[in-house]
Symmetry: C2
Subunit: 257 residues, 2 copies
Amino acid sequence: MQEKPLIFITNDDGITAPGLRALIDVVRPVGRVVVIAPDKPQSGTSHAVTMHHPLRLNHINSEPGYDEYSCDGTPVDCVKLAYKIVLDRRPDLLISGINHGSNSSINIIYSGTMAAVFEGAMAGVPSIGFSLLQYKEDADFSGASAYADRIIRKVMSRKLPEGICLNVNIPDVPVSEIKGVRICRQAGGTWLEDFDIRKDPKGRDYYWLKGIFARIGDGEDTDEHALEHNFVSIVPVNFDFTDYPAIEELKRWDFSS
Amino acid sequence: MQEKPLIFITNDDGITAPGLRALIDVVRPVGRVVVIAPDKPQSGTSHAVTMHHPLRLNHINSEPGYDEYSCDGTPVDCVKLAYKIVLDRRPDLLISGINHGSNSSINIIYSGTMAAVFEGAMAGVPSIGFSLLQYKEDADFSGASAYADRIIRKVMSRKLPEGICLNVNIPDVPVSEIKGVRICRQAGGTWLEDFDIRKDPKGRDYYWLKGIFARIGDGEDTDEHALEHNFVSIVPVNFDFTDYPAIEELKRWDFSS
């Protein structure tokens, strides 16, 4: 009998998030599953890694073919602990999410969900992040789960190109209204942000970040465009941030003085 | 009389870091300078942004043409506070560092120094991160300062290509031994990591991250190669993480079931 694939799961919304439970349910039937997730919400932590203090790992649940841990670090810490402490070998697949809220466009850069995916891919493990365009705790994950299942099976039967991981975003509509999957580029975008300026009981200012996302440009090949038209967007991403065309431009500059 | 350029400075080693002081000294003669830096070390925080609690800003120093603040958030929080609360207009230049330690190769993904640079560039501000290949508190920043000065003057006199920011790393040798500047691509690399497993007074395990960096591949066009040969490396980077060749590959996959 062939050994079941080893699937590692993490997220950035924390161990109690319904989106994490939805993703666990997708893969438990097909794999040996190990979960390590942050013990509290870690959204917006990006690729932060804990170096200045040590980490705790709490073994919460153990059943045949299934283990679940929480950790007091970031999503990237969870991946590092998985690879070095918990798993007896590299997993066959790393999945992260299902995130409560979009990681399309430039949101990828802030995302703890996608940071875990980068960290997985940097070790050569096929890695996918899933995000639903709905922040609510009681979001309906059925459409996201159906497409996560489909995409995971596809990735496990074919091979991802080397150095590539996937950023998958799912529109917040019933599964029957999802029109399919589109392979996209990352849309341009920005956060039109501001800070609430408030006063503490001693009259001193404090600042609380708020903002709304604004898309820049309107290419039909972007993730934002696909999501607006009720398609699941898949953006293949890599962790070589070099801008190759700019190398040629900068080589013409004279840095000798 | 022409107004002096407005230069914003941040870092991830915190407001007291000697590397930050070195960078301030480089630009104070030429610009109106505003510094906002974290009130404690924030290295390894990557692009983390503070959303779950509010931020404090502390105005430490104000002189003609110079203001300095500390903030209890991350480097990216410092940039957002600069743009929205402190500065009366977008700066002409954002510089981050001088980091105590390398941000070459894949270290860029973990770096708070470079996250601030991405955040600056995402708002269209010419942005540069500087890092010295020496972690020590009493590192010699004279070579790094000399080349930071040269590179900053060049960027301010020419225009950076749109959407591009610079990741500058400086070898830890006396300035007389630096051979010049090379425009490079980001080297492949990985952290050969492990955790120290220790026991607390109650006999429970805790885990402390340790590791050494290992370069992957040996291209002569990489930042790692340049630094090993005592050149300053400049990698032009952007924040579109899409892998364009992989789009074509994945479009051939059938996601219809």
